[in-house]
């Protein structure tokens, strides 16, 4: 009964992948917010009636893919499967049930065939504003904005006006957020139609056998890859900037046959500042890091992570309890992959990368438009240098472990009264090594607003730079300046007309000893202006001198 022809399975699996990408594309094309459209800050999935995810979009944020199944499972605890009707959409942005902060709204919609619930279409999308006064100084989660409890925002195809009104009243830019929410409604319709057509054509009444097989095969693939790693315990410990004092992330990886345990015991206790990463988010990034390192080509679904167990003690920054502030949870969560790679570097160095200039850097600008005085909240994303790879240099400014693209400067200047003076690579910021990290970038903004605008930043790696590995050097630290004076990395800062805020993201860490770097590459780095000859002489002494002789 569980037997399904592998050729047929392959074809149906392909079709499901294709259809979910179509669904996501139709959302992206009709969305209202730049973060969805230009930064692809969203994900779409298909999940089974138990909340297990079996298909996901290609274009998406790693964390969302990992958290959606858990969110649906929590939804099903509150609204059991038998209480769903056709045309329902359930919404929530609860940080502990969702992706770890309120700005990500998750929704799911049931798909029925012949009155039988056969799957859910689910999506998560970022919204720039969720009301409240999120700030780096928030002491608890209540300050961080509107929490939408699990509820039906659409019932049998009709919008629940109460929920809509709550959103309308509590958000600064309700048109953008509601526009995106509604664009997802029509994407669910597309998902339903597509899936039913597929079932009809494949002459299937439900997806049960298909899902079972997809999950099983994905699990087998992961187990096989884990088995290839020698059994043992591998540990790493790292310090992060934190708030008032550095915090510690400890990661112990235990590989036992085809199972893997990632244990974060020994990590710092949660703090009353918004950098805590709820378990969901920690889990998602741990799974993502593992998958990239050991099984990057297999599909990503619930089955892939059955062999993986994650231990994160309650009350730590990697599993905080309510009502800890969590708005900037990526400030801890984005350290999960480097912590895991630090441990794995001891056993599978070829599979991993040196540390990147992340957590993702971003800036919130909040103020009023010059022409119509309407309030605006604009976000600007910046990535640091990518960590060196085991066979190549890290690219300059490529997103990892998140996957958030930048925004066009020309578009940005059309949306907010700011003038960008610079966006360029910075010399001598790459972690040295046989393979160097990607360079940092520097961006500066001048306020052109006659009214003071509020700029909020929460940046990491201004004290602890991205580490190089296996002999590679560290990347450069990040820098935050206003009018050429240093400002704290986690702060809200009023920008007056003519003030210039400048940011330099961290550079990527290097890999392997610099003694092994190819001479040609060093010369090229110098010529391109990314490496000073002074630093070159200091670090790559042997190669540079040899070049002189040649």
């Amino acid at each position: 009964m569980n037997k399904i022809d592998p050729i047929k399975l392959g074809i149906i699996w392909k079709r499901l992948n294709g259809m979910i990408d179509e669904v996501a594309e139709s959302f992206i094309r009709s969305s209202f917010s730049a973060v969805v459209r230009e930064n692809y800050d969203m994900a779409f999935s298909l999940l089974d009636v138990h909340g297990r995810q079996f298909i996901q979009t290609k274009k998406s944020i790693p964390s969302f893919i990992g958290t959606l199944p858990h969110t649906l499972q929590e939804i099903l605890k509150k609204i059991p499967a038998n209480q769903f009707s056709e045309g329902d959409v359930v919404i929530s942005n609860d940080s502990w049930l969702g992706t770890g902060h309120l700005n990500d709204i998750t929704m799911v919609s049931p798909i029925f065939k012949n009155k039988k619930l056969i799957a859910f279409a689910g999506s998560t999308a970022h919204t720039v504003d969720i009301g409240g006064a999120p700030s780096p100084n928030a002491q608890d989660s209540y300050e961080e904005g509107l929490c939408i409890p699990i509820c039906k925002i659409v019932e049998k195809g009709i919008e629940n006006q109460v929920v809509i009104d709550f959103l309308q009243q509590n958000l600064r830019e309700p048109e953008e957020t509601l526009g995106d929410i509604r664009a997802q409604f029509s994407a669910y319709d597309v998902a339903t139609k597509k899936l039913l057509t597929l079932l009809n054509e494949e002459k299937l009444n439900d997806l049960d056998q298909i899902i079972l097989n997809i999950l099983k095969k994905s699990e087998q693939s992961m187990r096989k890859k884990i088995k290839d790693i020698p059994d043992g315990k591998y540990v790493d410990e790292m310090f992060i900037d934190g708030f008032d004092k550095p915090l510690k992330i400890k990661c112990l990886i235990e590989v036992k046959k085809d199972n893997i345990i990632i244990d974060f015991r020994g990590t710092s206790k949660q703090i009353n500042r918004p950098i805590n990463s709820v378990f969901n988010y920690t889990y998602a990034y741990a799974c993502y890091a593992l998958k990239c390192a050991i099984d990057p080509n297999a599909p990503n679904n619930d089955g892939s992570f059955r062999p993986v167990k994650i231990i994160a003690p309650m009350g730590t920054i990697v599993n905080p309890t309510r009502p800890a502030p969590v708005w900037g949870r990526h400030l801890t969560g984005h350290y999960i992959p480097p912590a895991i790679y630090g441990a794995l570097s001891k056993v599978i160095p070829k599979n991993i990368i040196a540390e990147s200039g992340s957590p993702l850097w971003n800036i919130y600008f909040k103020g009023r438009q010059e022409n119509n005085d309407k309030p605006f909240v604009k976000m600007f994303f910046m990535n640091g240098g990518h960590g060196a790879r085991s066979g190549s240099d890290g690219p300059g400014c490529l997103s990892f472990p998140s996957n958030v693209s930048n925004q066009s400067i020309e578009q940005f200047e059309n949306q907010a009264p700011l003038l960008v003076h610079e966006k360029s690579f910075v010399k001598d910021t790459q972690g040295v090594g046989q393979y160097v990290g990607g360079p940092a970038q520097k961006i500066s903004f001048e306020s052109k607003s006659s009214k003071t605008m509020m700029m909020t930043i929460r940046h990491e790696r201004v004290i602890h730079p991205p580490r190089g590995i296996l002999g590679g050097g560290d990347g450069s630290k990040g820098i935050d300046l206003v009018n050429n004076k240093k400002i704290p990395a986690k702060t809200s800062y009023p920008l007056k007309f003519g003030d210039i805020a400048t940011f330099q993201t961290p550079g990527g860490g290097g890999m392997y000893t610099p003694k092994k770097r190819d001479r040609k590459k060093i010369i090229n780095d110098i010529e391109s202006g990314l490496l000073s000859s002074k630093k070159a002489k200091l670090i790559y002494k042997k190669q540079v001198e040899r070049n002189k002789d040649a």
Binding site: P6, G18, S186, N297, G396
Partner: protein
């Protein structure tokens, strides 16, 4: 040069292996084809000798001819990085925009993903102080002293060409133009491209990428076109040379050399134009043109007799044909998807124990295992051979012998044995997977445009297209297909089939409610003038020029525009409401709903088309030789229990009004048409084959 009356149109398409030449007599509709080996070092050599020969053979007066040419030169120069040494000049602070790109991972899980390396290396990227704000107002004057210093630097390097890209220059080109003037003075002879000319649209990364690519290929392209233009005069063709653009329009050589980047899809656009023409002859307006070659397959939708167009294109992808791994170009192109599925695509078993095909390809060397050139891995062509779809002794008209044993061994070793299935089942699975991949890509492509693939009629071209077309029809639930005669020279036919046309875009962001109709009309009028200017050069008369206008619009806050056609009635109504009604019609068609939200205009688009230039092609009645009553038979497999005895026909021997039900194999020199059971074939009076599907549940 006064253009002569033109009786013969000559379409020339240069491919990797062959240069195709098609001559059509505009009076009689007669068509003559020629094929000659491409001369890669100097492609114009093959063109000239081929044209000369075909004209002589058919005693055609060169004075009565016009050559229309499509070329892969621009695309190849970008893919193989064979342009000239290029420099870039940007607004101070932005020289790295070209390399930073979008900072986005196009592959989520590949830690070692490769980013396209920028065409201009960092030491040749220069900056100068100047600045416009988002409205296009100058807020910092161009620093001429600084610029002269830069000019001297450029002069010192051995750069041949320069791209100038300033922020917001699509709103105001003053600084770019001034910079060009100054640099030209100090570096005489330097080739210079302005982003405000090449691609006047918002988005600094994409605009920079486009302008740089244009600058990079322009010198070699100019050289090539000049050589060819001179050459055709030498063989007596006095009419000027014309070239095919990526969106299927035809322009005079003088326009083409200004915007070589607009020719990046020149060859494939020819294929789409040909499919459009074949559709027109059959009075079918909605066509899916499917082109499958050795490494990739392309699909393009043609609606209402026009190929779909888009304004963003990616060339030279560096990682598994992944979207995002190439260089983005903002140019009007025929909208095609391209996926890594061709005859040479390699089949393998993935981590899940499932069969995957492509995107890795064995290319033409070592090629599929059956080529016997050292390729060991199983490919789509190997599977086609085992299934009996291609004849090992009659590949490329027998010029190349295929080794069936090699194909069997490759499929056995890499697929059948590890999966515990027979070689035949494995070959069939490869066929199923690759046709599914292609069907899916085409279906998604249609859906991205809000269309259903079922309504289209399929026209397969390219070597491997007709082999797989029927399987795809079944998967996409398409009922009708046309297999044109002369599919092998389709692109060259397309060159002739296209109208003279030129597209102009002008960015002009504003809220719809603030729209000033007088200004809008003035702007459209300027675009019209410019379009007319381009077409007058083609010899088109002013009263034979058709102008169509559209606005690119969206709800305020959205980031993707939809194209809203604006006719004169709407433009002259001076009523904003009429524009929003048009918008809603288009939007609803695409996304299924409309919002109660304010609208904005992003840019204006005008296409000038010559009405008179639609050529006459009556497809020539093909030579009908004696019928082979007892045609050959070959065993072919179409799923099910066993091989079927399948009759094989030579296409050029088919009798008039030929009609037969599948299974059937129709062979041509360059391709084989496979008709499975439950498909019916019929020849029309012009020699095209019509294929229909019997019922949905044939499998």
């Amino acid at each position: 040069m006064p253009n002569q009356p033109i009786q013969f149109l000559i379409g020339v398409d240069i491919g990797g292996t062959f240069t195709d030449i098609v001559v059509v007599d505009q009076i009689s509709g007669k068509q003559f084809n020629g094929k000659i080996l491409t001369t890669p070092i100097n492609p114009s050599e093959a063109v000239l000798s081929g044209v000369k020969e075909i004209l002589a053979r058919h005693k055609i007066d060169p004075k009565k001819c016009r050559i229309i040419h499509g070329t892969t030169l621009v695309a190849n120069a970008l893919i193989e990085r064979k342009g000239v040494k290029t420099a870039l000049l940007t607004t101070k602070g932005f020289k790295d925009v070209l390399e930073i790109g979008r900072e986005w991972r196009y592959d989520l899980f590949a830690l070692d993903l490769e980013m396209p390396s920028p065409i201009v290396q960092r030491n040749l990227r220069f900056e100068v102080s100047e600045r416009l704000n988002f409205q296009g107002k100058i807020i910092k004057k161009l620093d001429e002293k600084e610029l002269i210093k830069v000019a001297k630097e450029i002069k010192k390097s051995d750069v041949e060409t320069l791209a100038i890209v300033f922020l917001h220059s699509f709103k105001n080109a003053t600084h770019e133009k001034l910079a060009k003037k100054i640099i030209q003075k100090h570096v005489p002879g330097l080739n210079i491209c302005l982003s405000s000319t090449v691609s006047p649209e918002i988005g600094e990364y994409e605009r920079t990428s486009t302008c740089v690519a244009n600058a990079y290929v322009q010198p070699i392209f100019k050289k090539y076109v000049n050589l060819l233009a001179k050459g055709i005069k030498k063989i007596g063709i006095e009419n000027d040379l014309f070239l095919m653009l990526s969106d299927g329009g035809i322009v005079h050589e003088k326009i083409a050399v200004e915007y070589p980047i607009r020719l990046v899809q020149s060859g494939p656009a020819g294929g789409a134009q040909a499919a459009t023409l074949f559709g027109k002859i059959q009075k079918i307006s909605d066509v899916l043109c499917f082109d499958m070659g050795g490494t990739t397959a392309k699909a393009c939708l043609i609606e209402n007799g026009k190929p779909n167009r888009t304004t963003i294109f990616e060339v030279a992808r560096v990682f598994r044909f992944s979207k995002g791994s190439g260089l983005p170009l903002q140019v009007p192109v025929v909208d095609m998807i391209e996926i890594g599925a061709g005859g040479g695509s390699i089949a393998r078993i993935d981590e899940m124990g499932l069969i995957q095909v492509g995107p890795e390809s064995s290319s033409s060397y070592p090629g599929p295992a059956c080529y016997d050139l050292g390729g060991k891995l199983p490919t789509v062509t190997d599977s086609d051979l085992i299934l009996g779809y291609i004849d090992p002794d009659n590949f490329l008209g027998g010029d190349m012998k295929l080794m069936k044993e090699n194909a069997e061994k490759a499929i056995k070793d890499y697929i059948a044995k590890p999966m515990g299935i027979s070689v035949l089942d494995a070959a069939w699975a490869i066929h199923e997977v690759v046709t599914e991949n292609m069907s899916q890509a085409a279906t998604i492509h249609a859906l991205e445009k809000g269309r259903k693939i079922e309504k289209f009629c399929m026209i397969p071209i390219g070597g491997a297209g007709p082999v797989h077309a029927c399987s795809m029809m079944a998967k996409m639930n398409i009922n009708k297909m046309i297999s044109p005669s002369n599919a092998g020279v389709a692109s060259a036919i397309g060159m002739i089939a296209s109208p003279n046309a030129f597209e102009l875009v002008q960015a002009d962001m504003q809220n719809l409610e603030d729209l000033n109709f007088i200004k809008l009309k003035r702007k459209f009028n300027l675009l019209k003038k410019e379009g007319e200017k381009s077409l007058l050069k083609t010899g088109t008369k002013l009263n034979k020029i058709n102008i169509s206008n559209s606005l690119l619009m969206r709800y305020i806050g959205q980031g993707y525009e939809v194209e809203v056609p604006i006719n004169n009635k709407c433009l002259n109504s001076n009523n904003i409401k009429n524009i929003s009604i048009e918008f809603e019609r288009v939007y609803k068609d695409l996304f299924g709903r409309i919002e109660k939200m304010p609208l904005e205009i992003i840019s204006l688009r005008t296409i000038a088309t010559s009405i008179s230039s639609q050529p006459v092609i009556k497809q020539e009645k093909i030579n009908l030789s004696i019928i082979h009553k007892n045609s050959k038979k070959r065993k072919a497999y179409f799923g099910g229990k066993t091989f079927l005895d399948t009759p094989v026909f030579q296409r050029n021997n088919l009798p008039k009004n030929f009609k037969k039900n599948g299974p059937l194999i129709i062979e041509e020199r360059e391709s084989t048409l496979i008709i499975p059971p439950y498909f019916n074939l019929k020849m029309d009076s012009t020699g095209n084959l019509l294929i229909t599907k019997e019922s949905r549940n044939e499998k």
